[in-house]
Symmetry: C2
Subunit: 137 residues, 2 copies
């Protein structure tokens, strides 16, 4: 199967402009072209785009995705380095989830328990600690 840029955009969830932008900065290899000079994406291309959107969703900066893409171009010899990058990225995603979860706990607490106006906007470090303890229990 091949896909026009519009189809690739729809399937990957990226915009047409973003697809061209990613190509320009070396995040995706230039896809094949049809007889009229238009981009023609393969299933492999789509797979890579899917991977990219997933990494982007988890907050991997473009700079790092580009580094990964460059390693990938150099083939199997770089598999270890890439694996290492995924390891490190996994750790950062886990950290991010934990961080969000802890802020969510505070938010929950604020919504559920704090009624007094003055307190509501001024929860202090001690309060936050109590919340954390309460949430952990």
């Amino acid at each position: 199967m091949t896909y026009s840029i519009a189809q690739a955009a729809e399937r990957s969830g990226l915009s047409i402009d973003t697809l061209r932008y990613y190509e320009r900065i070396g995040l995706v290899d230039p896809p094949a072209r049809d007889s009229g000079g238009r981009r023609s994406y393969s299933d492999d291309d789509l797979g890579w785009l899917t991977f990219l959107t997933r990494m982007r969703t988890t907050g991997m900066p473009i700079r790092m995705m580009r580094e990964y893409a460059q390693l990938r171009r150099r083939g199997a010899a770089t598999a270890g380095r890439r694996r290492q990058m995924l390891f490190e990225h996994r750790a950062s995603v886990r950290e991010r989830i934990a961080e969000l979860q802890s802020c969510l706990d505070v938010l929950e607490y604020k919504i559920a328990h704090v009624r007094h106006e003055a307190l509501n906007d001024r929860m202090e470090v001690q309060d936050l600690h109590r919340v954390a303890v309460a949430a952990a229990a």
Copy 2:
């Protein structure tokens, strides 16, 4: 207790420049000044800064924090609206965590199970579905 801008920065985790920037854009009320015209933050100010950093961590845009700050300035009459905002923000944080978790599942799967080079970078929608199912089980 009062705090210099450097102390407020250290305690809130924001930079001195960011503190002044937040004041400029109306995210924090101008704090008191000492005899020499320097900013002097109160515990209440610090509490508000703590709240802001927490909302920022969870991805609330400055525009929304500013809206919240404006409502807060108008007092108790706006408590309902503010509560509503926290509700909505909570929902978006939950969604974000779920989204990150689902990408993390894919990442875990890739790290743990995919060894074949060609597959590794080209996991397709069907594969992702299998991962999701496997992760849910």
